[in-house]
């Protein structure tokens, strides 16, 4: 039967040689390599659950009165978008499961990409010839952030509206073009025209998924074309890749991982509540709630917006750069610029223009590791500042005191981390050097002792190497 199927495919596509090669594609194995795969499988779950949700969600801001099964909102005035999101949670069977799974999958998707980027960065996997793969990956991260933001903004609950107001303010704050840009996106001053909902919808369910899907294909094609990176060993060298073949060894592992990711996402979606939109209520320009937290991947922007001291850049009475620009636009721009420019700058600064198929251990590139750790510390502290209000509620730490502490820390801590990390890397390497010298000396001593003892060495017996 298998042979029949193979013949059928080969006769129609001529693909047998290619498939044969693909099935024996070599995967080097290391636990940290699966992060990208987790992101990939989360994306699959996102697409499938997302398609289901579009069958029920109505992207419309037309006003309706709620008369559904949820008592807490009886008679409330809301948009059709919000009503349909509530209905698909309560009226549509399995709707809540799919909606919550979709939301969890989005959170896991971005988390997996971020961890994957960290892995790529700290092992130097972004170096030539894989810099293009790295840029494609970063583009997908940026799109994933926007995609997630649009996803929870479309629902038009109170948190959606607050998030959109902030997004609007950030767009508005861009010097010289902000107001014009915001007017284009929203179709006028906030909250914009009703068509704005359709704009978010088409970007969320069509434009960005297609772009991300295409980039995933490109990303994988580039990975396959240049083959996987690996950590060096006696057998695994810059010329030879060593690992298990796609089939039969790797495929069931990867399928198992995919099923496990889907399993965790559906268990979360069924058992752990996320974004209970019926509690937030519908959005009105005049309402806001205290203690609102966005999805985790926007926390760094909330933190940045909160940390910036109060000032607008003005000339006389003319506002040049409104405050929200620094935290909401300049900060992510700086972070992504550093990440995007890194491969190029590293080539320039180290003069290393060579090909790299072997990964660095973080300690092998002390400056990269130290600078990366400093950048990560900076971003993480700012992310952390976004939860100051929660810490205040939970532990009673004065909010303004916290903000001042973090304001100082974001300047001091990265510098400290830079110095400490560099030192740790250097010490680790020095330790290894001492260890390998000691071993070499011991081996030499043992060899001498044996030679004195009068034994002859058999070439190739391995004794010399020991």
């Amino acid at each position: 039967m298998i042979r029949g199927a193979v013949r059928l495919v080969d006769q129609r596509s001529g693909g047998a040689p290619f498939i044969r090669k693909a099935l024996r594609y070599v995967f080097p194995d290391h636990w940290s390599f699966l992060l990208g795969e987790v992101a990939l499988y989360s994306f699959v779950v996102l697409v499938l659950t997302g398609i289901y949700l579009t069958l029920f969600f109505e992207p419309s801001l037309a006003k309706v009165q709620y008369h559904g099964s949820y008592v807490g909102l009886q008679g409330a005035e809301m948009s059709e978008a919000y009503r349909s999101a509530i209905d698909l949670s309560f009226k549509v069977k399995a709707g809540l499961l799919i909606r919550q799974t979709h939301h969890w999958a989005a959170d896991v998707f971005v988390a997996a990409i971020v961890l994957h980027v960290l892995r790529i960065f700290f092992t130097g996997a972004f170096r030539k010839p894989r810099d293009l793969t790295y840029y494609v990956g970063l583009s997908m991260l940026m799109m994933a952030l926007l995609e997630g933001y649009l996803g929870y903004s479309m629902v038009d609950d109170l948190l959606s509206g607050m998030g959109l107001a902030i997004g609007y303010a950030v767009a508005l704050s861009i010097p010289f073009v902000g107001a014009n840009l915001a007017a284009l996106i929203w179709g006028g001053p906030f909250p914009g025209t009703h068509a704005f909902e359709s704009r978010m919808y088409v970007v969320h369910v069509f434009v960005l998924p297609i772009l991300i899907g295409t980039l995933i294909a490109l990303h994988l094609a580039l990975v396959a074309a240049r083959h996987h990176t690996q950590f060096g060993s006696l057998r695994a060298t810059a010329r030879k890749v060593v690992g298990m073949p796609m089939f039969p060894a790797y495929a069931p592992r990867s399928i198992g991982l995919g099923l496990a990711v889907a399993s965790v996402l559906f268990l979360l979606g069924g058992l752990v509540q996320i974004n209970p939109i019926w509690i937030w209520g519908p959005y009105h320009v005049a309402s806001a709630t205290n203690g609102a937290q966005p999805d985790w991947y926007l926390g760094w922007l909330i933190g940045a917006l909160r940390l910036v001291p109060h000032f607008d850049v003005t000339i006389g009475n003319y506002t040049l750069v409104p405050n929200a620009f620094w935290g909401g636009a300049a900060f992510p721009l700086v972070v992504f610029s550093v990440l995007l420019l890194w491969p190029w700058s590293e080539r320039r600064l180290t003069g290393d223009h060579g090909f790299h198929n072997l990964l660095d251990r973080p300690r092998d590139a002390p400056w990269r590791t130290a600078l990366g750790a400093a950048l990560f510390t900076w971003v993480f502290l700012i992310f952390f500042a976004g939860s100051g209000d929660r810490l205040f509620v939970m532990f009673g730490l004065s909010y303004s005191l916290q903000i001042w502490i973090v304001r100082v820390l974001v300047v001091v801590a990265p510098a400290v981390v830079l110095v400490v990390t560099k030192r740790v890397c250097d010490e680790l390497r020095a330790g290894e050097r001492v260890e390998s010298e000691r071993k070499a000396a011991e081996a030499e001593a043992a060899l001498e002792a044996r030679l004195v003892g009068g034994r002859t060495l058999v070439p190739g017996s391995g004794e010399l190497r020991r």
Partner: protein, 327 residues
Amino acid sequence: MKRWLIAAIVLLLGRRPRAAALRRERMVPPGPPDRGAELAVLALLLAATVCGAAFPVVYAVDSIPNQTQFLGLSLGLCLAFLAAASILIAKRLVVTEELEEDYPPPEHPTEQEALGQLVDESGDRFTRRRLIVVGAGAAGTALGVALLTPAASLGPAFHMDPFFRTPWRRGRLLVDEDGHPLLADDVEEETFYTAFPQGADREQLGAPLVVVRLPPAQLDLPSGRRDWAPRGILAYSKICTHAGCAIALYRKPTFPPTEPRPALVCPCHYSTFDPARGGDVIFGPAGRPLPQLPLLVDGSGRLRAAGNFSGAVGPSWWGVRNRSPYA
């Protein structure tokens, strides 16, 4: 019947005799069978089947409580058992070989040269190459601009008036959420009120107000706003000048040791404004004061606007300060 049953069991459980060993070289290295692992995989597949089958049952039976949880549990467990089976197959039932393969060559100089030559020779007949490139560039740019032009219809990109317009003008009544006029006597200290312009769209940034009352002796308003707060009643735009969230917190009564003054606070980024001093920023990221609306109390004690805001409403943009809002 009995014979059929036996036949079925034999078919199901019987193992095929191994095919006669073919006399060709193996591609996948051989390994011993592992009946324990096989049995475990079968058990996992059975468990996955049971969980998968439970999903439509939970879906169909309405009397089951907590349907979402059980649906998630059945689907999640079904997938989990399948994942376990798959990984068990990978670890115990298929051979894990270690292969070596050459990395692809870094580059193909001959092909690169050929490609360059191909393009060069194809362009042999052009004599004014640079001019053609400039011409193509111009045409391409014009086409790009033409294709982008319809995007201008998305919004009033070159028309900033709507950003300065508010529904407030002298004499407009302040009403509460239910549309009832706000009476000056009803406005108490130590709490805050949300007010809207009577008969106007509430879903615009210029509409909502936050109204508070302070002892007139405590007020320290900017010059020119002496009569903006009749009986100590103050009205400010409810939209934060930082990022456009609604000012939903009023810090009053206060905790004197750390926070001596009553303050209006935005819950998004905790911009904090001083209502006694014309909405000045005390803390948090907002870059300019909260716009104040002048009030008056009419003959029947109702609160009315005495004009428009002291500055543009909502989050700031380039050049926001140089114009006043208008009705």
